[in-house]
């Protein structure tokens, strides 16, 4: 309001001023007439005496203005007026900018939320992932999480370190919740003491677990996530102190965590105290993620050194029972390699996001060069105006400012429009982005995204504005006023900057197309990999966990599992059913353990660790994994707990030379374990994703003899994944029938994580297909923009050289010759662009190496195809205007003079 009032008052002031001045002149004229001067002469004299009315009015008005700003505002007004007069130009530029800036903002938002923003915990820079390197532990220490901690290791670390304020270990598992309506399978995070303290987020109701809650003989408690609290208890505050049944144990609800709180990178429903029992702890299992909060001022290197000295102490303190050597773990060469928790959460997604960011940035640059081209043409048509201004005394800076005001205003308008594009683009990105994109829930268009938009808008405005400025701000009064362009053809110099822009465009388009094609070839290579299973779209997987309350001993568990398999097989349309401890690409390894081949000597006395899986009869048949030699398990084998295993083909080759040679050979875990006979060999399965090589796998029967019990007794799996082959996989009706089938065996067993193998397979390709999609979009945009750029430059050249063409034709030039002349000039530009682009691409593709599979970053096919395609496009884009040039009628062209 104040502002409007100010404007209103100002216009009244200006009016007052004019009235005063008019009266002043009139009165002086009257006076002169009184002295006897004729009216006309008197008025003229009065005016002359007064001076330049307009100038004096302007100077007087300046008392009320902020002169620099006002004159920029005037420039802006002029810009808007000119844009309104050429709506086609304005729409083209604004649309280009809105899409370009919008795409950049969207990708930046993802990049910012995932990579740049700190984790949503207080002082999160002190949160540390307790990552252990263990090069001697083979597959047990993978690149996703290093060697995980065992509870005994955690206790040693927690009690003797000097570097951490607090530390804890945690793991996810399923939990059956009963006592509220339907049986419910909930995601539970099992946390030791120190986890919540390290994360430092207070509960929204109730309190954290106390020390007593972590006592195995203490009270049984549970905490809820905000979502579970809302869903199951309607957000009722009185829920604190209530009890629920978790896996048959009555637990008191002691607290609720706030909205948005996640267990590092996992969503959860329940938090359960780990309640470690010192008396029963062994050195294994290595299955827990460790986090810690560093003391202020302690560096990661110091923490590494501090805990490195505790590894031997751990070996001194704990044991795997009588007759075992606790120092055998020295072979694993365990060493702390702690890193910030953020680094652990973000993982290696960074390379994908940076590539995508660079890609859209490059597209933006190409778009900017197109806009710069358009602005150049506009500036050229204004050359006369600029020359007049220069002649009237406009300095270099004044002209530059006017041109820049126009381009920055365009940039900012594009920026405003781009926010809508960014919003839509962000939703699209999240939808097509890899499902395992970390911190997905935190992605949003926030203040820093908008700040980025603003910066980018101004930057783009300056960037594409600078080119006309460099070219035209220096315009000399003479050049434009002489009307040089009426009499001579365009000089080389006039086209130099536009040509440079085309070369830059072609080079950038080439880089993008090369990267897009490399990704397409990567994807094709991945699709061609035999994953070790078939017909993934018709394979349904479902996790079933049988709690002790439902089946107390392994026999009952096995019986229930077999019954469930039979019921599932009886569903109409089901062709076969099997189950296993884990299915390919589900992101979890059932077990890693030692495996010795009979008659083989091992370095250091102990055999290497191998990946284990536990499978039912018919599992391989269902999955479509070929049995290469020998035979599959039968239910009789399982029921009699016969000492037998199956192995993967690569294990067989490595150990005995061929698949056939493996049959009948014997292997065992430890020197004290019984020998197991190899009865079958199956083809290799890429369990860790198509881009990772198939590991050697030992397949145990789903019912096996317990490794530590003497005499051997039956052990079984409580958690298995069923694989069901059916044409109806993935449909809702099928899911309901599966549920009925399972509940007909036991009504208290819930189904969890229902997936198809196709989903798991696609997820393992998700990063590649996401990068591919982004690069393909960017590549085709770059190609399109590049073609428009070449077409624009050639057709502008043609229009500028019409007179010259006319003369040439009049003097007898061949039309085909003329056509070729223009196409040739386009090809020369393209050639230079391609050469620069190839060198750049060769240098840049090395950075993409980690995203490629099966092809070299300098793939010859790609590096030959793309330049050819670009050259063909350039030829086509220049042919149309060239044909127009050749069609020029020399008489008309010359008459236009």
């Amino acid at each position: 309001m104040q502002f409007l009032y100010g404007l209103f008052r100002r216009s009244r002031r200006y009016n007052d001023l004019s009235v005063s001045i008019q009266e002043h002149i009139a009165e002086r004229a009257d006076e002169l007439m009184d002295e006897g001067m004729p009216r006309a002469q008197a008025e003229q004299r009065a005016r002359r005496e007064f001076g330049n009315v307009a100038l004096i009015e302007q100077r007087s008005r300046e008392a009320w203005q902020w002169p620099a700003l006002e004159s920029i505002l005037a420039d802006v007004k002029l810009t808007f007026r000119r844009l309104r007069k050429s709506p086609g130009f304005a729409a083209t530029v604004l649309l280009t900018l809105a899409i370009g800036i919008g795409a950049n903002t969207a990708v930046f938002s993802v990049l910012n939320s995932v990579l740049l923003k700190p984790l949503p915990y207080p002082d999160s820079d002190r949160l540390t992932s307790l990552w252990l390197d263990a090069p001697g532990a083979d597959g047990l220490a993978n690149f996703n999480s290093g060697l995980r901690l065992s509870p005994s290791m955690f206790l040693t670390f927690a009690e003797h370190n000097h570097s951490f304020e607090s530390m804890g270990i945690w793991a996810m598992r399923y939990a059956n919740v009963t006592g509220i309506a339907q049986p419910d399978q909930a995601n539970a995070a099992l946390v030791s003491g120190g986890v919540l303290e390290s994360l430092g987020v207070p509960p929204v109701a109730g309190k954290w677990f106390s020390t007593a809650d972590q006592d195995p003989r203490g009270s049984k408690t549970v905490m809820l996530s905000y979502g579970y609290w809302q869903r199951r208890f309607g957000g009722e505050r009185g829920v604190i102190g209530h009890v629920i049944q978790v896996d048959g144990v009555t637990r008191e609800i002691v607290g609720v965590m706030p909205r948005g709180f996640r267990m590092i990178d996992q969503d959860f429903d329940l938090l359960l105290p780990m309640a470690l029992d010192r008396a029963t702890l062994r050195m294994y299992p290595f299955g827990y993620d460790g986090i810690g909060r560093l003391k202020p001022g302690v560096s990661l290197a110091q923490a590494d050194a501090d805990l490195a000295r505790l590894v031997p102490l751990w070996m001194d303190t704990w044991s795997n029972g009588p007759g075992t050597n606790s120092h055998s773990y020295e072979k694993w060469r365990i060493a702390p390699n702690f890193r910030s928790l953020k680094l652990k959460v973000v993982g290696n997604i960074g390379s994908v996001l940076w590539v995508v960011m660079a890609t859209v940035g490059l597209v933006m640059l190409i778009a900017c060069t197109n806009v710069a081209n358009l602005l150049l043409v506009r500036a050229e048509s204004r050359q006369q105006e600029l020359a007049v201004r220069a002649a009237l005394g406009a300095g270099l800076w004044r002209t530059a400012r006017e041109l820049l005001v126009e381009s920055v205003a365009l940039g900012l308008m594009g920026g405003v429009l781009s926010i809508g594009v960014a919003y839509a683009g962000l939703r699209l990105l999240v939808a097509i982005g890899p499902a395992d994109l970390p911190r997905m829930s935190e992605i949003a268009l926030d203040g820093s995204s908008l700040g980025f938009t603003l910066l980018l808008s101004v930057f783009c405005g300056l960037l594409f504005g600078l080119i006309p400025v460099l070219k035209y701000a220096r315009t000399h009064a003479s050049a434009g006023l002489l009307g040089a362009n009426r009499t001579v053809s365009a000089s080389r110099a006039r086209h130099r900057s536009r040509n440079a822009l085309v070369v830059a465009q072609v080079a950038m388009a080439l880089v993008l197309l090369v990267s897009a094609l490399l990704m397409i070839r990567t994807f094709a290579a991945l699709r061609n990999v035999e994953p070790g299973f078939k017909d993934a779209a018709h394979l349904q997987t479902v996790n079933i966990w049988i709690p002790e309350l439902q089946a107390p001993d392994p026999h009952t568990v096995a019986q229930m599992q077999r019954n469930i398999a039979n019921q599932l097989a009886a569903i109409p349309g089901v062709t076969s059913v099997g189950f296993a401890a884990g299915v390919p690409m589900d992101g979890n390894d059932p077990n890693w353990d030692l495996m010795a081949v009979e008659g083989k000597k091992y370095e250091g006395g102990e055999p290497p660790l191998r990946l284990y899986n536990y499978v039912s009869p018919g599992y391989f048949h269902t999955l479509g994994t070929r049995v290469v030699a020998g035979r599959d398990f039968t239910w009789d084998d399982l029921n009699n707990v016969l000492p037998m295993v199956m192995v993967s083909e690569n294990f067989a080759r490595e150990s005995w030379g061929s698949a056939a040679a493996a049959i009948g050979k014997r292997v065992r875990k430890y020197s004290s374990s019984p020998w197991q006979q190899v009865i079958g060999v199956v083809e290799d399965v890429r369990v860790h994703g198509v881009d990772d090589k198939a590991p050697a796998i030992v397949y145990w029967p789903a019912i096996f003899s317990d490794r530590y019990a003497t005499p051997p007794q039956m052990g079984g799996l409580r958690f298995v994944t069923y694989v069901i082959h059916s044409d109806r996989a993935g449909t809702t009706g099928f899911l309901n029938e599966m549920q009925q089938a399972v509940w007909s065996v036991n009504g208290n067993v819930p189904l969890a994580t229902v997936e198809t193998m196709q989903n798991l397979y696609s997820q393992s390709l998700a990063r590649t297909s996401f990068t591919l999609t982004m690069l393909a979009i960017a590549g085709s945009m770059a190609l399109g923009l590049g073609i428009i750029g070449i077409y624009g430059v050639i057709s502008y050249t043609v229009s500028q050289r019409t007179r010259e063409i006319g003369i040439r034709l009049a003097l007898g030039a061949q039309r085909s010759e003329l056509k070729w002349m223009f196409v040739r000039s386009a090809l020369v530009l393209t050639g230079v662009g391609v050469a620069i682009g190839l060198v750049t691409a060769a240098a840049l593709m090395r950075l993409m190496k980690s995203l490629l599979f099966g092809i070299s970053p300098l793939d010859p096919f790609t590096f030959i195809t793309v330049p050819l395609v670009l050259a063909a496009c350039a030829a086509c884009a220049s042919y149309l205007p060239a044909r127009r040039a050749a069609a020029v009628n020399p008489v008309e062209a010359l008459r236009a003079e």
Binding site: I21, E27, N52, I56, W64, R398
Partner: protein
């Protein structure tokens, strides 16, 4: 671009003082101001229109003057400028400082003249 409009007839502030002093006698319009100063100074001082109007606007902005709708002696619509309280205070302050300066200059000139 317009050059700096701070062109002064005598020395900085003199024009303002003359305008303020003139308006102290009675409110006047622009032309009357020019004539008044010319007459009172016996044609020794001539106010340039090019300086008068920007100065008037500056003084309006400072709040030393106010303008009101009025008619000239010939009956034409114009704006009459009137001294405000703040303007009067400014005038008195400036007069004192000018007098000091004049005294100083006079003394220096007197010494040089011996």
């Amino acid at each position: 671009m317009a050059k700096n409009p701070e062109h002064r007839d005598l020395f900085p502030g003199a024009l303002e003082i003359m305008i303020l002093q003139s308006l102290r006698l009675k409110p006047m319009h622009g032309y009357a101001l020019v004539k008044h100063i010319k007459e009172v100074s016996d044609n020794l001082l001539q106010v340039e229109e090019g300086s008068l109007y920007p100065a008037l606007q500056r003084m309006l902005r400072e709040g030393w003057l106010e303008s009101e709708v009025g008619v000239s002696s010939k009956g034409r619509p114009t704006r009459i400028y009137r001294l405000k309280e703040a303007g009067l205070r400014h005038l008195e302050k400036e007069v004192v400082s000018f007098e000091k300066m004049f005294t100083g200059i006079t003394r220096v000139l007197a010494v040089a003249g011996v």
